[in-house]
Symmetry: C2
DNA sequence: TCTATATTTTACGAATTAACGAATTATTAA
DNA sequence: TTAATAATTCGTTAATTCGTAAAATATAGA
């Protein structure tokens, strides 16, 4: 696929835009993003790979955890410009504000117990409590 | 659909990006865009409605002809910024260069005979000649 | 009016995409 | 080693999107 179209296709999904918004100014591990979007881990992983393929984000592996962050100097000029545009445009939307609010809660939980919430069915109530904010 | 996602989805197709590139600095009627993309009129019309819906382009009806142009002051700030970004990013691609070259040929033909090329089967040879050059 | 024509809308098949669960991989801890 | 676990890949399904042809709409000219 042509690079420009790869960029626009990567941006053409609300959940992927939400991921970019959430990564603004910080790194997040996959389980934190899963918690935010409330989607299956496999779905989130695919979104992340699409964003990384488009060079909008980059990743860092630390033990079992994978940390994602916005692309920096590594991004091509056109991609960096797209990122800048989308972050500014998304910043004031109600969705972005709600996500940021929820992230405050998520960031208070240590990642390890967050991950357990996602795999253990018996903790679903607790997870729902987290999701509610 | 949320406005930002409507914008990114509108941009997530190469043919629609080509339309935006072709409209840079000039108005075009639908038959000229059909000639450029070499797609069915109905397909081109749909692409145009998606772009207009996203407010990336606007239109002007003159008799039977519909003229499209890039959005100007009428576009929301975020849309104008997207347009600026995509035009700059697309400008130097080989696809854009080829399209511009072909547009030179298309613009030499008066729109009326261009439209006839699209509907009259007996003129297919002539059309192919146009497409090749 | 009637006909021709530029464009749009509608209907539908083919291709793509987003979602999930199951299986797999890579790493840590027992 | 073996088990546990964070993340990814794979296979499937449902929804969306792109393309076309055919029908509808709107306008110009006879």
């Amino acid at each position: 696929m042509r690079p420009l179209v790869r960029t626009t296709k990567a941006l053409a999904d609300e959940n992927r835009i939400r991921i970019l918004g959430a990564l603004k100014g910080r790194e997040l591990c996959v389980c934190q993003i899963i918690s935010l979007l409330n989607l299956a881990p496999s779905t989130v992983s695919r979104h992340l790979s699409i964003l990384r393929n488009a060079r909008l984000i980059s990743s860092r592996k630390q033990g079992r955890w994978m940390h994602y962050r916005l692309a920096g100097r590594d991004a091509p000029e056109s991609v960096a410009a797209a990122l800048k545009w989308v972050l500014i445009s998304f910043e004031k939307s109600s969705r972005r504000v709600a996500d940021e609010h929820r992230l405050e809660t998520i960031l208070k939980i240590d990642p390890e117990s967050l991950c357990r919430l996602q795999t253990r069915p018996e903790d679903c109530q607790a997870q729902r409590r987290v999701q509610a904010g």
